[in-house]
Assembly symmetry: C4
C-alpha cells in the first residue's frame, strides 16, 4: 500500500492498532461533533490563488518564538505514544528533530523528559503542562523541563475535568500494565481520572511565570475574550485548540476560532492552532488566517503507528511537500507572502 | 451493554419494547420533520467556552416556581407509562423524587393521581391538564391534583385535535385491555380520539384560574405573540413545546422557538422548554438561551423501559453528570453564570 | 397495506404501473432537480402556529373565480390518464365532482372533452390548452370546451418545445396502440414531438380572448415580470407552475416562485400554484404565501392508478383531512384566517 | 445502451477505459473537492425563465475572437487523447471541425500539431502552451502553431508545478511505451514531471507577445486581480479555469470565479470558462453570467473513448441540442438575448 496522503496513515493505524488504543486516539467528546468539525471547517474555506508569480525558489521555513523550523508544522502534545509504537516519545522526538521542527512533549508521556531529551539531543522541544492539585509536582516538572533544555512551556487550560469520551468508557480505557506515565510516577496514579486542579485561574499564570524563565504558551483558548486575557497575563504565545474535540463537544472548529483570536491579539503574541490539519493546504489556510504555525496531533500518532520515527517523518514530509506545492500553486514563494487575501469562507 | 449516554437507552427501548409501544412513543406527526428538527437544532448551536475559571466547586441546583431541584431537568408529561414498565407512573414518580427533580404527571397516565402521590410522597409534582368538552371532568381533575399536593398545573394548548401520526394509524394503536387511562375512567372512552375541547381559547385560562390556587404553566407556546398573551392572561410559567413533534409537523424546533419566547417574555414569567434534549450540553444550551429548566419526554420513557424507576434514575444521573461537566468545561461553576455569551447559532 | 398518506399511493403506483407509464408520470427534465426541488422547497418552510383559538368549527371551503370548492385543492392538467386507469379522465372527472373540486382537463386527454363532460355532468371543470401551429384546431378545442360547460381556459405557456426527459427517451415512450389523444384525433399525430407552436407570444393571449367568453388562466409563470405581463394582458388567473419539473430543469421551485408572483400581482388576479404538494400542510403553506388554491398533478395519477375514481377520492380526502387538521393546529378555523404570519422560510 | 446525456458517456468511459487512463482523466488534486465543486456550483444556480417569447427560430451561433462557431461550446485542451482512442487528437480535430467549433490542442498531445492540422484542414483551432524552462522549445512550438494556421495561443498559467493527484501516484501513471508527447519529442522526457518553468511571471506575456501575431488567451485565471493584470498585459481573452480541479484543490468553482472575472474585465476582453459543464443548461448559465463561450474537457474525452470522432460529435450534438432547448425554454431565441436576469445563485 502506497502512503500518499495522511488518510493512508489513518487507515493503516485503524487497521493495525489494538482497538482500545485506536479508540483512545480517535476519541472525541460526546457525539464527536467538534472533533469532526475541526476537519469539515477547513473544507469550507476556499482559496483564491494568484497566478504568474515566480515560484521557482520556494522558502517554507518560519520561526516560532525566535527558533527557526523547516516548515510551519510542529507536533502537538498527545499522551501515551507507546500505545502507538514501542519506543514511544523517543521516536517522536527523533522524527521531529530529523525534520527540524518543534515537538511539544506531553505531561502524559510514556517516556520521561530525560529519556526524550537523550533520544534527540539538540531538538527544538516545548513541554506541555497541566497544573495539578499537587502544585509541587507541577513545579518540579517545569524545572526539570527547563533544566533539560526544553524551550517553551505549554499550559493546557481546557481540561479542568476530562471530557466524556464514550468509547473510552465502554472500553474501560486504561494503560496496559507495562506502560507508565513516567513523568508523574510516584506523584499520582493516572487511571484514576483527572488529578488535575479544577480551581486553576488566570492568576496561576503568574505563579507559573514565577517558576521559570521559559516562554509560556497557553493552549486551549477559543474566544477573543480569553485571548485578550492571555495577552494581558503576559504569555508569549497562544495555541487555539479544542483538545482535538475531546473536551467540550460542540464548541467551534479551531480554524473558526483562530479568526477570532487573531483579531483580538493583533499581533501582540504569536498565535498557533491545532486540530483538523490533514493536508498541506490546511496549513496554508491556517497561515493565511493568521497562525504562525500549526501543530498536528492524531496524524503524528498514525505516523508512529505505521513505522515509528520513520513513519512520523513520512507524515511530516508529506505535509511539507503538500504545503510547499499548495503555496506555489497559490502564488506564494515564501511564508511572508501568505495572507488573508488567499482565502474566503464559503457560505455553503 | 454499558449505558453510557441517552442513545444507549433509546437503542435498548427500540429493541425490547413491543413495536406498537415503541412506535407510539417514537411517533411524530406526518413526516416527523419537527420531531427530528428538535434534535438537529441543538446541533446547530455552538459553544464559545471560557477557560481558567475556578470550577472546583460546582453548583447545578436551580429553582422552578420557588421549589429547588437538584439540576434543571424535569420529567415532561407523556402518556401511558405502563407501556414502558409495569409499574408505570408510580416508577416515574419515585425516580423523580429520588433525583430531587420535578415530574409533570400526564392526564393520560395509566396510574391514578392518587397512586402516583402515594408511590412517592413529598416529591415535587405538577399535573398536566387538557380541557375536555366535559368541563366538570377537567374541574374535578384539577381539584384532585391540588388536594393531592401537586404544586403546579400545566395546561397543554397544542392539541385541539390529535396530530396525524402515521405509524399509530398503521398499527391501529390502542391501549392493551389491561391498561386504562385511570384518571378519566368513567368520564370518557379514550381510544375514541380526542374527547378534548377544540373550542378552548385564552378566556378559558381565566376559568382555570378560578378553579385553583395552583400556579398555571402553559405548555405548547411557540410564538412571541402567544407568549405575550400568556403573560397577559396571568400564567406563572410557559413551556415552549411542540409536543415532541407529534402535533403540527414542520413547526419550529423548540430551541429556536425558545429564543423568540424568551425575548417576548422579558423575565416576567419563567420559561421552560422540552423536545430534543439528548445530552447534558443540550441543557446547558437551553439555559444559555434563557430557559429556567428543561423537561425530557422520550428519554424518560427509555429509562423506564430499561429498568423502571432505576432506569429512569440512570437517565437522569447521566444527564446530570453531563450537564455538570459541560458547565465546568464552558467555564461556569453555577447556574447563575450561564448566559447568552456561551452560545452562537451556526449558520451551517 | 393501509393508505395513510400520499406517499403510500406513490409507492403503490410505482409498484403496479407498467414501468413505461410510471416513468412517464414520474419524469422530470434532465437531472430532475426542479422536480425534486418542488417538494424540498416546502420542507424548508416553517410554520409558526398560534394556540388557543376556537377551532371547533372548521370551514375549509374556498372560491376560485367565483365557484365554490370544498377545499383549496384541484386537479392539475396531466396527460394520458388511461395509462393509470382504464376509464382514464372519466374517472378523474367523477372523483373531482364527488369531492366537489375543480378538475383541469388536459388537451392530452385519452378521453374526449365530450366523454369527460358526460361522465360527470355538473362538475366544475377548466380546460387546459396549448396553442398549436394549426390555430384552427386550437380554436375548435376552445369552442368545444366552452360549449360543453367548461368554466375556465388554462393556457399553458411553458412548453414551446417538450423538455428533455431522459427516461422517456430511453424507454422510447409512446402511447400504446389502443390509446389515443382523442381530442386531437385527425388533427395531428402525437408521438411526433411537439406539434405546438413555439412562436406564441403575449399577443396570442388577445387572440385567445377573442375566441371565448371563458376566463383565461395562464399556467407556467415563474417570474414577477411575466406575472405583471399576464395581468396587463387581461388574464383572470395565474397558475405558478414549472410543469412538474418536466420542462426547464433548475428553475425555481414553484412555492418559491409563488412568493414573487403574488408580490407582483398584488391581488389583481387570482394566483394558484402546482408542483410538490404532498401533504395537507403543503396546501396550508401555499395559501399562507398567497395562493388561492393549489392543484395536484402526480398524486392524482397515483390515486387513479390505485383504484380509479375511488382511489383519486381517497387521495383528495386524505389531503382534505390533513389540510383541515393542519389549519386547526396552526390556529385557523377558516381559510380567511390563513396568512403570511403563519410561515417563515428556514435559512437551512 | 442509449447515449442520452453526457453522464452516459462518462459511465461508458469508466467501464471500458483501462483503469490507469480513466483515473488519469478523472483525477483531481488532493481530495478532488474543486473538481467536484465545478459541477456542484452549477447546480446551485437557478433559472428564472421568461415565457411567451417567440422561440420558433433559434440562433445559437456565436463568435469567439471574430470566428463564428455553431454554438458556444469548444474543446478545452487536455492531454494524451490516444489514451482514449487510437487516433487521438486527429479524431478530436475532425469532430470539432464537423461540428463547426473550436478545438484547443494541448502541448501534451499524442499527435503532432502537423498531424492535427492535416487531419482536419480548415478547422478552427487554438494552440495551448506551457512555458518551458527551455524557452527555445516554447518559441518553436508557437511558431509551428502559427505557421500551421492555428488562430489563437492559449497560455496556461496555473501549472508552475503539477498538482498532487493521488490516484496517478498510486498507479505510477506514465504513458504506455507506444505513445509519445510528440510535439516535444527530443526536447524533453515527459514522465519526469514538470519540465515547465515555475519562474514565469506576467512579464513573460510580453515575451510571448513578441514571438507571434496570434491573439493570446490566458488560461487559469480565477481572481479579479489577475483578470485586471491579464487585461493590462494585453491579452485578447481569458479562460477562467482551475485546470479541472487538478491543480490547487479547494479553490473556487470556475462558474463562481467567472462572476468575479467578468466584473473585473468589464467587456475589455472576451472571457471564457471551462470545468463542470455537463448539460446544455450549464452552457446557458455560463453565458448568462458573462462567458462568451465555454470549453469542455473530460466530456470530450468520454466521447472519444466511446467512438472516437463520431463519439465526440455525439457529445457535442447532445450539448448543442440541450443548449438550444434550454435557451428556448428560458425564452431566448438568440445568444444575444441571454443575460444576467435569467439566473440567480441559490443560497442553499
Amino acid at each position: 500500500m502506497a502512503m500518499v496522503c495522511l488518510s493512508d496513515f489513518e487507515a493503516y493505524a485503524k487497521k493495525y492498532l489494538p482497538k482500545i488504543a485506536w479508540d483512545y486516539f480517535a476519541a472525541g467528546a460526546d457525539d464527536c461533533t467538534t472533533r469532526d468539525e475541526n476537519i469539515l471547517a477547513y473544507k469550507r474555506i476556499r482559496f483564491w490563488p494568484r497566478m504568474l508569480r515566480d515560484v521557482s525558489v520556494m522558502d517554507i521555513r518560519t520561526k516560532i518564538l525566535g527558533s527557526e523550523i523547516s516548515f510551519p508544522v510542529g507536533i502537538a502534545p498527545t499522551g501515551f505514544h507507546q500505545l502507538a509504537w514501542p519506543d514511544g516519545e523517543k521516536s517522536t522526538a527523533r522524527a521531529a528533530r530529523a525534520m527540524n521542527t518543534c515537538y511539544i512533549a506531553s505531561t502524559y508521556s510514556t517516556c520521561t523528559l530525560e529519556e526524550i531529551s537523550t533520544a534527540a539531543p539538540g531538538g527544538l522541544r516545548w513541554f506541555q503542562l497541566y497544573i495539578h492539585c499537587n502544585r509541587a509536582a507541577s513545579q518540579q516538572l517545569v524545572q526539570r523541563a527547563e533544566a533539560l533544555g526544553f524551550q517553551g512551556l505549554v499550559l493546557t487550560v481546557d481540561l479542568p475535568y476530562t471530557g466524556k469520551r464514550r468509547d473510552d468508557i465502554r472500553n474501560g480505557f486504561c494503560l496496559p500494565p507495562h506502560m507508565k506515565v513516567k513523568n508523574l510516577e510516584g506523584a499520582f496514579e493516572v487511571c484514576k481520572m483527572s488529578p488535575l486542579d479544577p480551581s486553576v485561574t488566570w492568576n496561576d499564570v503568574y505563579w507559573l511565570r514565577s517558576l521559570t524563565h521559559l516562554p509560556i504558551i497557553i493552549k486551549g483558548i477559543l474566544t477573543r475574550e480569553d485571548a485578550e486575557l492571555a495577552v494581558r497575563h503576559g504569555v508569549q504565545g497562544i495555541i487555539v485548540s479544542n483538545h482535538g474535540g475531546r473536551q467540550l463537544d460542540e464548541g467551534p472548529a479551531t480554524i473558526d476560532a483562530l479568526v477570532e483570536v487573531v483579531e483580538a491579539v493583533q499581533g501582540r503574541v504569536e498565535v498557533y492552532v491545532d486540530g483538523g490539519i490533514r493536508k498541506g493546504s490546511d496549513v496554508l489556510k491556517a497561515l493565511a488566517l493568521g497562525a504562525k504555525c500549526v501543530f498536528i496531533g492524531r496524524p503524528a500518532l498514525w505516523g508512529l503507528a505505521y513505522k515509528g520515527e520513520e513513519g512520523l517523518q513520512d507524515v511530516l514530509r508529506i505535509l511539507q511537500d503538500e504545503f510547499r506545492l499548495s503555496m506555489a500553486l497559490a502564488g506564494c514563494a515564501s511564508v511572508s507572502e501568505i495572507g488573508k487575501h488567499l482565502v474566503q469562507f464559503s457560505k455553503l
